[in-house]
Symmetry: C2
Subunit: 194 residues, 2 copies
């Protein structure tokens, strides 16, 4: 056999190219040939590692999900529930170039999920995990009179996703979004003197 390559790293390479194309030109422009060109390889190689385009899409989605997950777990967990939840949610805001790319990809995939049940299920599962993690922290914090943990979690995650859309669309800037998030965190964790 030839050079014996690691298939997973090859697939990741292609997935990265896909994500770049998706972020810069939209999901409609994601084709075998465009991805191949972006990765600097031939279309035949793409076909070698993904039997179908859909398989490639799903794998790319897995890559972003794993990457976000990894970022959430890296570094020591901050002190206190509020800080931990904040750390989680900030990862979803497009505050730098990497996260902006991921944000654009996320929007594209939300639209894509509308027609692909498998993709939709994946996003649903991710969202569920995120909500539960946050609800647990809110419950642990035992905020006195604010929202119940489930609703607070749903609210915070939704808020951040909405903020991400507005930041990416240029409707508001990242600072305003961060400030808004801080305010809502205060509410959810019932800051003293509210």
């Amino acid at each position: 056999m030839p050079k014996q390559v690691d298939p997973h790293s090859r697939r990741t390479l292609l997935a990265d190219a896909l994500l770049r194309v998706a972020a810069s030109r939209g999901l409609m422009d994601v084709s075998l040939r465009h991805v191949a060109a972006e990765a600097g390889v031939t279309a035949g190689m793409v076909q070698h590692y993904f039997r179908t385009k859909d398989e490639m899409m799903v794998f790319a989605l897995d890559v972003v999900a794993a990457r976000v997950q990894a970022r959430l777990e890296e570094g020591p967990a901050p002190d206190g529930p509020r800080a931990r939840v904040r750390a989680l949610l900030v990862q979803l805001l497009p505050v730098d170039a990497d996260r902006e790319l991921e944000g654009r990809v996320a929007i594209a995939f939300h639209a894509y999920a509308a027609t692909r049940p498998a993709v939709a299920a994946r996003l649903r599962e991710d969202a569920r995990r995120m909500r539960e993690a946050i609800a647990a922290e809110v419950a642990a914090a035992g905020a006195p009179g604010a929202l119940d943990p489930q609703r607070a979690a749903t609210g915070l995650v939704s808020l951040v996703e909405g903020l991400a859309i507005h930041v990416l669309g240029g409707h508001v800037d990242a600072d305003h979004a961060l400030a808004t998030l801080e305010g809502h965190l205060d509410l959810a964790f019932a800051l003293p003197r509210l």
Copy 2:
């Protein structure tokens, strides 16, 4: 000349077909021929009313925007700032079939906007108007110690957009979303006894 038709109603008819295709099969499947088929006309007629596909897309976006706007203005304005803001925001949640379709279209167009500056500008303007309307109501209500009006408005609009995504994705049900919205309205308008 032949039967002398109203061009605007024809274009609206085609735009409706486009929206149905976009909602049911995604924006990637929106093509001249599919739209024509959905509308029950020939592809040639579509070309007659829209010189380019992009022109058709933008017109369709205008149609939804106008429709949402019309719905916001119909009926008497509710009593009190909180109720008025609630009425605004509920229109953006997919609580029935019509709004679900519009929600799917909205997501698709947010993704589309990433590559079309003209579309992005349109969405930005719509969002700005919505935020200002809400900020004005919040300010008028003079909520004592909660968020400042600008942030509250950004937060509420983002929250609702995020909730819409989660409802459409099947992550949470409409009732939960509504309840979450109520809770956040209470916070923004600083309900007694918080």
